[in-house]
Each structure stands twice: as C-alpha cells, then as structure tokens.
Amino acid sequence: MRIVVTGMGVISSIGTSVEQFWHSAVNGKSGISKITCFDASGHRSQIAGEIADFDPKSFLSNKQIEQTDRFTQLALFAANEALNDCGDLGSYNAHRLAVCLGSGMGGFSTFESSASRKLQNKSVPPFTVPRTMANSAAAWIATQHALKGVNLTCSTACSSAANAIGMALDLMRTGKADAVVTGGVEACVLPLTISGFEALHALSTGFNDDPEHASRPFSTGRDGFVMGEGAGILVLENEEAAIKRGATIYAQLTGYGCTCDAAHIVAPDMDGQIAAMQAAINDANIAPNAVDYINAHATSTPLGDVVETNAIKQLFGDHAYKLAVSATKSMIGHTIGASAALGSIATIKALQTGTIHPTANLNEPDPECDLDYVPNKAQQRKIKTALCNAFGFGGNNATLVYTTP
C-alpha cells in the first residue's frame, strides 16, 4: 500500500502559506526577531520566531476565538489551507477521515493566563480546560471539517509532529482510516516556557541585539535554540484512492522509525538517533545510500548538532558526505511540536522542486560538523528520497522517509 501526501498547509514566522514559507526558506529568510507578544526585557533570551501578523478574526468568529487557544487557532489556519489544497474529500465516508496531530505543550498560553488569575484569587475562565488540553487542536480541526474518524494527539515534546505523522502512516497502513489530516502545532512563545527553557540553558542568549543570526545550526558561535511557533499540516491518502478522485500527489510517505534513548530526560543520544533513522530506512525498504537529503532536527544547540552529525556519519559512512543536510530551524527557530511538520513540508517541497533550502547563518561551520549542510544558499539537486529527523526531550527520536511519487 502506497501512502501519499495530497495536501499541505503552513503557518510560520516566514510565511502564512506553503508557497510563502517555501519562497522564504529557499531564500534563507529569517523569521527571528525581538519578542513582541510580551515584555521579554527581563529575560536572558529575548528573541523568537513569532507569527507577527496572525489575525484569528480573519477566519474565526468571536465565540470561536474565545473558545480556542492560540495553538488551536494556528492549527486550524494551516489545516484550512491543507484541506483546501487537497480538494474535496467528500468521496470518503466521514467516519474514515482521521486527524492525528502533534503538540508538545498544547494550549499553554491559556494554562499560563488562567494559572496567573488563579494565583491572584480571581475566577478562572470556563474554557480553561477545553482550550488547554493537548487534543484541543485536533478536536477543532475535526469539528470544523466534519472529520469523524480516529482523532489522536501525540505529545512527545520536540518530536511530536514526526511521531504524529508516523502514527498517521500506521493508521493508513492498518486500515483504520482512508485519509488522515496530520502534522504538528506549537504556540509557546510565552513567559513561562521561555523561562523554563532558559533555566535549562537551552536557549540562545547572546544574540538579543542580532536576532536574525541567533539560530545558527552547525555554525561556530551557536549558543542554544531560538523559540519558534507555527503549524504544519499534511493530508495523507492511499495513492490509488487519491488518483481515483483526481488529487495532486506531492510525495510518498514511505517510512517511519522511532526509538527512545531510555537514558536521559533531556540529553541527546547518538545511538537512539541512529536506531530511529535505521528503523525508518528499513520501514521504507531502501538502502541507506538511497537517501539524498536529510532535513535535520538541528536546533542550534552546541551539543545537539554535533550528536546528530555524528549519528548521520555513523549510519551512512562515506555516503554521509555525499548527501545534503539542511536545517529549517536556522530560519524559523525551534517550533517544538510543530518542527517535524514544517520540516516535512520543506522536505516534500525539496523533492517536488529539486531545490534544497539552505541552512542560514552558516559562514563558519563548527569543525565537528563537517557535512554538506547547504550553507546559506539553496542547492539545486535532483533528489528522490529524503529523511526528516526529529528528536525530543524524553529521549524520543523519530524519522520519516519521503520519496518522489
């Protein structure tokens, strides 16, 4: 059974449509700037990849806005584009249309504001729980689009979207759905999350006056990740059924592998990453040297980028130096539970167009990072098979394999 991608939707700091996102990504445009949604002047990290011009009023009623957290609103925006892009799914039974979404933090903005009220002995808004719950976004997508089948949410921190897309692939393969709306979303540019990641020394703090150069995977001088927000949505279908209804096929999703380090709650582990990539390659039934491109997890932390580089080198041997690797996060920062969804869309666009977006801010690579990271300038390369990596707190490692249709 061949599972294909027939619809895509994006909202990110570098574009509020797939085309805009891809145009910016190919040109290495940065979406990182000073935080504007709250006063971050007292924080050590004062920058983020915020979606500055997002207006939920453009597509939601006042009542819907009142009942939804920003993460749900972003997911709905991207889902609207993806479901419009894939065309009419009316030929399917609504009970066979599934949603499988990833989010690391869910409605954390609502949690933070309601908790703050409670601590001041004020009453708590009635929609606190339905706005905060991690499955809120998936539920709203289903409700808005009458998707009455399986409805799942996967929360594995920074690998949430990769696991969600992998779970969606499993739903298709096991016959539990005829089409799945999948991907990931995150909206946690917030005082508490910024403080929390600061406390772990995970965020970049040295580029507050030069935000565009802060997210610099594989580069010397990188000092942590930059918080980002956004959503990426894919529509998966069986190839035969998609052709029958005249859908456009963007790529095949051919493999999924995931592992847990079972070692440390936040530190990356090379063996776990290798095992996830190997499992995905095995699942796709390809040889490692068939891989042309890796959309890396690459968050711009001093340790993480080296570990991922070493994992790629260990698994692919000499071929590691022949394939291209690039980091979407160099432009949008780390969108946590949305990152592999946005990375997947960048991967699919690369397969479709033969253009690999660059890793921005890579003038002087870290000597320990010596692969072809497509520095600063997009690369034209005919590619057939690509991986998208995502590694998350909890020791989760997930890899997806996409191929040309």
């Binding site: 009623s61 006042n62 009542k63 009142e66 009942q67 009453s123 808004p125 009635p126 929609f127």
Partner: protein, 89 residues
C-alpha cells in the same frame, strides 16, 4: 449608573457575544435559546459579565434559573443596589 443605562449596557454587551442575531432585536425578554447561547456559552457570558460589570454571580440557585436577558439585568441591578449603601459608609 441608573437602571435604564445599565440595561442598555448589558444588552450591548450581550449583543457583542452572540452570532447571527440582529442586535436591534435584543431586549429584556430575549431568551438565551433565541440568542443561540448554549449552556457553555452562558457560563462564558457570565464570566465575562463579572469582569465588565464588577459583579459576582455567586448565588448559584438564582443563576440556574436565568432564562433571558432581563434575568441578568435584574441580578446585576440588584447586586449593585445592595452594594451601594456599603460604599457610602
């Protein structure tokens, strides 16, 4: 605030909370049902009203019996008039 002004303000507030209803048609007798407000919408409405009108809907028995706009107007007017003497002390 006199009762008439208060009523007008509450109706304006409720009008901002409903969808697909002509605000000009809303008056004291408008029921939540005709305004398309389900039970959760009513809870949200009262939560927002607490902030705007500086009132607390803590009389659960009375709140449960609310069926129309006039019930909210009367509750808020009554609460505010009860509070007045205290303010003047």
């Amino acid at each position: 605030m006199n009762t008439e002004n208060l009523e007008e303000k509450i109706i304006q507030f409720i009008a901002s909370k409903v969808e697909d209803v002509d605000p000009a048609t809303i008056d004291r007798s408008s029921t939540f049902e005709t305004l398309g407000l389900d039970s959760m919408d009513r809870v949200q409405l009262l939560f927002d009203a607490e902030e705007i009108f500086d009132v607390t809907f803590d009389d659960d028995e009375a709140v449960k019996k609310f069926t129309c706009v006039g019930d909210i107007v009367d509750y808020i007017s009554k609460t505010q008039s009860e509070e007045k003497p205290a303010e003047e002390e």
